[in-house]
């Protein structure tokens, strides 16, 4: 394979992951649940480790199921802390994800002799090794990089999920009470969205790492939100940003010889801060035209 094919594959995979994450992130943003997305991406760690331990492989269905279950568990735990124990939302999120993440690291150390899974790889995987990791059928047919297929499947599922449940998702995001009143199971939709976030986290953690998934979940939608407030343009802009981030991130990382996933996030951050500078209330003298929103209200 020439460098160009590799570059194309890496950019394609990066863009697919960025778009899947971005689409889900738009709905998280509209629900003011960005930090919940962050919490989920940390909290899936024990699920990944247990799935890995049970099946002995990073690529198994057990890993995805384990992570999905942990993702849902963390959503439920945040909800229970908030509603049953009356802990404020930000603290519920903080307590939940740190506890689950700590358990994950402890499990990694516990199974260290059996499991070839180190903490760094879970946290910030490496997309650059993608062209070596090929999916070869038992008959010896080379189908190309495995992770690209995974990212494609994930992209397909996420877009399918949003396409099929578009009305329900947007209604529950904008007006939960109205949507419950007309018979949409708001809680069920919410759990479905959280499961998709967990699944996307797992399917991406090998290539971009669990923490950088958060960046792709949050930063492109936030950037797009600075430019538009309508849902469809928001989704389009997020997708466009995802592709741009993948291309620029790859070439910049290649140029300074560093982590591609990290560079994708850095590029996303540059777009974010640039947009904030342009669209923020600028100059400072005009401040006060928009009200600062109260902290984590809901």
């Amino acid at each position: 394979m020439t460098l160009d094919t590799n570059a194309l594959l890496i950019i394609l995979t990066g863009a697919l992951i960025a778009i899947s994450c971005g689409f889900l992130g738009v709905f998280l943003l509209l629900r003011k649940m960005s930090m919940t997305g962050d919490a989920i991406s940390h909290a899936v760690l024990p699920g990944i480790v247990i799935g890995f331990f049970v099946s002995g492989s990073q690529r198994s269905l057990e890993v995805i199921i384990g992570a999905g279950l942990l993702g849902i568990l963390s959503t439920l735990m945040i909800d229970a802390l908030r509603k049953k124990a009356k802990v404020q939302l930000d603290a519920s999120i903080g307590i939940t994800f740190t506890l689950l993440f700590a358990i994950g690291i402890i499990l990694i150390n516990l199974f260290a002799y059996k499991v070839d899974l180190d903490q760094e790889c879970v946290l910030y995987g490496e997309i650059a090794y993608l062209p070596i990791d090929l999916w070869i059928t038992p008959s010896g047919l080379n189908l190309g990089p495995r992770i690209t297929w995974l990212a494609g499947l994930n992209f397909f599922l996420v877009t399918g999920f949003i396409y099929l449940l578009f009305k329900e998702l947007s209604l529950t995001s904008f007006d939960e009470h109205f949507s419950s009143a007309i018979g949409i199971p708001a809680k069920g939709i919410n759990l479905a969205l959280m499961s998709m976030v967990s699944y996307t986290t797992v399917s991406s953690f090998e290539s971009v790492g669990a923490i950088l998934v958060v960046a792709l979940l949050v930063v492109p939608p936030s950037t797009a939100y600075l430019w538009t407030k309508s849902l469809i343009p928001l989704l389009r802009l997020t997708a466009a940003l995802g592709i741009l981030i993948a291309i620029l991130g790859y070439y910049l990382a290649y140029w300074i010889d560093s982590s591609i996933a990290g560079m994708m996030v850095a590029v996303a951050g540059a777009f974010f801060f640039g947009s904030a500078l342009i669209k923020g209330n600028w100059p400072l003298g005009l401040r006060g035209t928009s009200k600062p929103s109260p902290a984590f209200d809901s």
Binding site: K32, M33, S34, M35, G37, D38, H42, A85, K86, V87, Q88, D90, A91, I93, G94, I95, T98, L99, F101, A102, I105, I106, N109, L110, Q119, E120, L123, Y124, G209, I211, L212, V214, A215, L217, V218, V219, S222, Y225, L226, A253, I256, D257, S258, S259, A261, G262, M263, V265, A266, A268, F272, F273, G280, N281, W282, S290, P292, S293, A295, F296
Partner: protein, 430 residues
């Protein structure tokens, strides 16, 4: 057991150092974290702890080795930049606070990863220690570094204790503080500096990702035991020290175990136990309080029904009639009757249930409160007579004798409620 004794008698000076270090770090971050928890900015600490990574890398590049002074300075500067950016974004864009925090956190962390990878590929042999910032390494803190971190921690404690009043104002009522002439912006600035410092020294022991727990969890757990600020701070510090020592002990006994995650697990355990068992506002306590209130309302309703029957000149209600009044509540009725009989408020015989003299008086009071409240709503609040019943259904269980006397006085001892029913009083009947 031998391990236990060896560890807790502190014979080994290195154990003493580690425990001392983790105690100082724990107190510092528990104090600062409790304030930011009360300020409802708990996750800002999480953002800062991710955001210091680029600064750590920068400090490392500038010093060329793992010099704690450079690293602390670098970490502090990038934490400060992140704090400044988040408050700038909050004031100048329409983004909500949680997306701002999540964006800052992930972007800074991403940049940090880029820098870390670039440094690792540069082949500097000193680089191995840098990873310990991500996951923390309490055991690995050198004694020399401990003086720097311990000193900073003490400084944090000192500033927080000296300016307790100012920080209390910032958390509970910044508007009032501004009105009586305190420089609230300056106070918040100092607090942010302390928060960043606490994070910078805390991640040595516990790592970037889990730092949030050291800040948030002790305060959240302690909040369940007290409402006052000083006991809250002391309790948070105590929880933090306790889990710090337990975590260190685990990684001493099982050397392959990392310290930080165990500290977090113990902290969370304390927090979860507090949430469940706290006698003030724990889950069990609130469940019991709710159940006893529901039982009381049900008993009140039953006595009211008996009293109303009495008003209609029927002394005795049969069990079937009571069941018909409250369908689907067979179990509750049986329970209420049992309790009421035991208290001597109702009498049961073969004909059915009747009120005892004491029960009549108690039931009369409930009906009186109900009707008084209806009169009050109707006359003083101008609410239509057909809208007052629902509210009275709730208030009849809550009004105290003092409020009752006040209502009677205000309404000038009315005789009829808005539905033209008599308001029963002792002198009347007896």
């Amino acid at each position: 057991m031998e391990d236990f004794l060896y560890f807790f008698t502190f014979q080994d000076p290195s154990i003493t150092w580690v425990v001392l270090g983790i105690t100082l770090l724990g107190i510092g971050s528990a104090y600062v974290g409790t304030f930011s928890f009360l300020d409802k900015k708990a996750l800002l600490g999480d953002a800062i702890s991710h955001a210091v990574l680029p600064g750590i890398c920068l400090g490392f590049v500038l010093a060329g080795e793992k010099d704690p002074r450079y690293i602390v300075t670098g970490a502090f500067l990038s934490g400060a930049l992140a704090t400044f950016l988040s408050s700038w974004l909050k004031q100048n864009t329409k983004l909500s606070e949680d997306s701002i925090i999540a964006s800052i956190l992930s972007v800074f962390f991403g940049i940090g990863i880029v820098a870390l990878t670039a440094i690792q590929k540069s082949g500097n042999p000193e680089v191995a220690g840098l990873n310990s910032f991500i996951f923390g390494n309490a055991i690995g803190i050198a004694e020399a570094d401990l003086f720097l971190y311990g000193g900073l921690s003490l400084a944090i404690l000192l500033v927080l204790s000296l300016f307790l009043k100012e920080f209390r104002l910032m958390v509970f009522d910044p508007g009032f503080g501004k009105a009586i002439g305190f420089p609230m912006k300056g106070i918040r600035f100092v607090f942010n500096v302390l928060l960043i410092l606490a994070v910078v020294i805390g991640i040595q022991a516990i790592g970037v990702v889990l730092m949030a727990a050291l800040l948030i969890t002790p305060g959240a757990a302690a909040r369940f035991w007290t409402d006052r600020l000083q006991p809250l701070l002391l309790l948070a510090a105590f929880f933090s020290i306790l889990s710090g020592i337990l975590g260190t002990y685990i990684s001493f006994v099982l050397p392959q175990m990392p310290t930080g995650p165990w500290v977090v697990v113990f902290l969370s355990l304390i927090a979860l136990l507090s949430f469940i068992f706290s006698p003030k506002s724990g889950v069990i306590r609130r469940f019991l309080a709710r159940r006893s209130y529901l039982n009381k309302t049900h008993r009140d309703h039953l006595m009211k029904a008996l009293f109303k029957a009495k008003e209609a000149n029927r002394e005795v209600l049969s069990l079937e009639e009571i069941h018909a009044l409250y369908p689907f509540h067979k179990k509750e009725i049986a329970h209420s009757l049992q309790v009421l009989t035991k208290q001597g408020l109702v009498l049961q015989d073969s004909q059915g249930v009747r009120l005892s003299p004491q029960g009549t008086s108690d039931a009369m009071r409930i009906v009186r409160l109900h009707r008084l409240w209806e009169v009050y709503l109707n006359e003083s609040m101008n609410i239509a007579p057909d809208h007052v019943h629902e509210s009275a259904e709730q208030m009849e269980h809550l009004l105290t004798p003092e409020l009752e006397a006040l209502l009677e006085q205000r309404l000038n001892y009315p005789t009829l409620d808005p539905h033209q029913e008599t308001i029963p009083r002792e002198s009347h009947d007896a």
